[in-house]
Symmetry: C2
Subunit: 82 residues, 2 copies
């Protein structure tokens, strides 16, 4: 398993309720791909959302988010942190 940070753009004006609903959609699908979406942070002014997850591959992250209607702009494999 690996860790990933993915980034969504264009989510200007996202509300806390919409973020919660988007996250719930990911959680409902993630098991099929062996993914765990652990946390998400949003800036509704710039429209960027950052998600940290663990999973078998970036492609698995991409598939869950895309099936949930929120394909990420970038996915980065995190191999170090402090």
């Amino acid at each position: 398993m690996a860790k990933f940070m993915d980034v969504h753009e264009g989510m200007v004006g996202i509300t806390p309720e919409a973020l919660k609903a988007a996250h719930a959609g990911d959680l409902a699908l993630q098991g099929e791909e062996g993914v765990s979406f652990d946390h998400a942070w949003a800036d509704p002014v710039s429209g960027k959302v950052f998600c940290i997850s663990t999973g078998p591959s970036a492609e698995a992250i991409q598939r869950v988010h895309t099936r949930n209607g929120i394909p990420p702009t970038e996915i980065h494999e995190i191999t170090m942190e402090v």
Copy 2:
């Protein structure tokens, strides 16, 4: 106090030791600006580093990182998370 996610680009090939040293540099300076750098995640392949922090303003985050020699490319104020 607010929460921020800042992003650094161009750090391709960063090592765990370099990430630790950069973070230590931020920690050494952050008190002067009332900032707390809480966690950082790095992808040495894409060269992106993501830092989550709390502080009084984006400008304070910018000043600490810049004095430490690692000005961020973007700073996003995080007003919601799940």
